[in-house]
C-alpha cells in the first residue's frame, strides 16, 4: 500500500481567487456552501433555447456539478436524496465556455476532467478550476455531505435526472483538484507517465486484420 496521502483542504463553493490559487493538482478538497447540477439538459435549455437561468448565479453558487443525484420526489413535493455521483464532463465541452460566461462558475465538478485545451481556452480566462469526483464513484460519501435540497428547477421540463438541483452542502467530498488556475491537468500528467510503458506492453501483440476508419493507433492519444 502506498504511503503518501494527499493534502486535504476545505473550500467554499464561492471561492476567492486566493483560495483557488492555493490549490495544487492532486489536492483533496471538501466543499461548503451551495452547489447546483447542470449538464446537457440545463445547458441546452439555458444556452440554446435561451431560457432564463432560474437562480441567481454566481451569487448563490459558483459551483457547477456535472451530476444527477439518485433521488426521487415525494408526494408532498419534497425530495428524497440518496447517493450523488458525477457524470463524465468531456461531453459538455461545447457548452462550457458559454456557461461560464453566463453563470460565473469558478468550480466545475464532474467525472474525468476536461481537455487541457478547454482549460486553456475557458477555465484560465475565467479563473476557474476543475474538481473531479473520486472513484468513481463515492456516491454514498458525497450524499453524506448534503445538508438539504434547496430547490429543483426544470424537473418537469427535463426530468429528475437532467433537472437543475440546488443542494446545500457541508464538508462534502472527497474531490480531487484536476486542473489549476494555469490550466494544468492532473489526468494528462498521469497519462504521460503511463504512456512511457505502453510500447513495451504492446510488444508481440498484433494489429487486427480488418481495419477501422478514423482510428488512432497512437496509444498516447486519448479518445475524448
Amino acid at each position: 500500500m502506498a504511503g503518501k496521502s494527499p493534502r486535504k483542504l476545505r473550500l467554499s463553493t464561492n471561492p476567492t481567487p486566493e483560495a483557488l490559487s492555493e490549490l495544487r493538482l492532486g489536492d483533496v478538497v471538501y466543499l461548503d456552501g451551495t452547489i447546483y447540477t447542470a449538464r446537457e439538459g440545463v445547458y441546452t435549455r439555458a444556452l440554446e433555447e435561451k431560457a432564463n437561468i432560474p437562480m441567481e448565479l454566481p451569487a448563490k453558487s459558483a459551483a457547477n456539478f456535472h451530476c444527477s443525484p439518485a433521488a426521487s420526489m415525494n408526494g408532498d413535493g419534497s425530495f428524497n436524496l440518496g447517493a450523488v455521483t458525477a457524470t463524465a464532463s468531456f461531453r459538455f465541452s461545447k457548452w462550457i465556455g458559454d456557461w461560464m460566461a453566463a453563470s460565473g462558475a469558478k468550480l466545475i465538478i464532474g467525472k474525468g476532467g476536461m481537455s487541457k485545451e478547454d482549460y486553456k481556452k475557458h477555465f484560465v480566462p475565467n479563473g476557474a478550476v476543475y474538481l473531479t469526483t473520486v472513484g468513481y464513484g463515492t456516491g454514498a460519501l458525497l450524499g453524506r455531505g448534503v445538508k438539504r435540497v434547496a430547490d429543483v428547477h426544470w424537473h418537469e421540463e427535463l426530468g429528475l435526472a437532467q433537472a437543475m438541483w440546488v443542494i446545500e452542502v457541508e464538508n462534502m467530498g472527497p474531490f480531487i483538484v484536476e486542473s489549476d488556475l494555469q490550466g494544468n491537468s492532473l489526468f494528462e500528467r498521469e497519462n504521460e507517465k503511463i504512456a512511457r510503458n505502453l510500447e513495451a506492453l504492446y510488444e508481440g501483440t498484433k494489429p487486427a486484420t480488418l481495419k477501422r476508419y478514423g482510428e488512432t493507433d497512437d496509444r498516447k492519444d486519448e479518445l475524448i
Partner: protein, 322 residues
Amino acid sequence: MISTTLIQETAETLMEKAAIEIPQDYLEGLKGAASKEEGDLSAFVLQAMLENYEAAKEDRRAMCGDTGTPRWYVKMGNEAAIEGGPVAMETALRRATANATQNVPLRPNRVHPLWRTDHNNNVGIGAPEIEYAFEPDGAWIDLITVHKGGLFGTDYRMLFPSDGIEGIKRFYLDSLVAFGKRGLACQPAIIGIGLGGTKDACMVLGKRAACLRIVGDKNPDPKIAALEAEFTELGNNIGMGAMGFVGSSMVIDCNIEVGYCHTGGMQMSVHAFCLSSRRAVARIFSDGHVEYRTDPDWFTPYQRRETIEWEDSAWLEKAHAN
C-alpha cells in the same frame, strides 16, 4: 406455484440490495488490489471507495449516484410454475423496478433515445431488459438483478482466426487503455470477454461474463482459465490504476465466455463491471421460501452444453469434475 406478489416483493428487495451492498467477492478482490497498490493517488481512491461501501451500508443509501441501468436475468427450473405465467412475472419485475427507483431511491436513468422522455422510474420501451434461461431440474426461479454502469469500457470487434491470441490481447489492451484513461471505465473492474457467437451473441456473452460470474471463479476449460489469469495480470501491468492514475489496480478479475461462431470469424467483446459491481440474486422456491445470495451461478454446465441432448447427471458430474 410461485406467486407474483412474492416475485415482486423479492425483486424490490433485490433492487435495494444491488444498489447498496457491494458483493463480498468483489469487495475482497478490491481489498487485495488496495493492499498491493503503490500509486499514491490510486491508493487514495481505493481507500475512499472502501469507505464509501461502508457508508452506503450504514446509511442504506445507494453506493454510487449513477445507479446504472437496472436489468433482470430470470432462470427457471424446468418444473417451475408461476402464477399468472411469464406475463404476470414481467409485470411484477417492471413494477418492482419502478417502485425501487422511487423508494431506494435510484437515479431514474432510463430515457427515450431520441425524445429523452424520462418516466422517472427506470421503466420504458425495452427497459428494464429481462433475459431468460432454464435449468433441467427444480421448481424454483432465480431472480438476478444487475445494475451495470452504462457509458464506457465496452467495445466489440470482428477478429479473424488469423488474428490469434496476439490479436485478442491487443484488442483487450486497447479497450483497457482507451477507457482506463481518466478512469472512464470506473476501474478496477471485473472484465468480461465474449469470444465467438455472432455479433449480438458475443456482446451478450461478454456482458454476462462480467456481470454473472464472480471474482475468483474460472472457466471450466483449463486453457481458457489460463488465459483469464494471464489477462488479469496483463491488465494490472499497464501501469494504470484507479481513475487512470499511475498504479496497478485495473482488473479485479477477468472472465472469458465463448460460443461457437462462423468458421471464418472470431468475434470479440470486452466489458467492464465497475467499482460499483451491483448484482443481487434470490432463489424463490415453489413453497414460498426465498434464499438471497450474490453469486448468480449463471454459467452452469447446462448453459455451456455442447451436445444436442442434455444427457443426464453423469454428464453434469463430469463437467463439474473438470
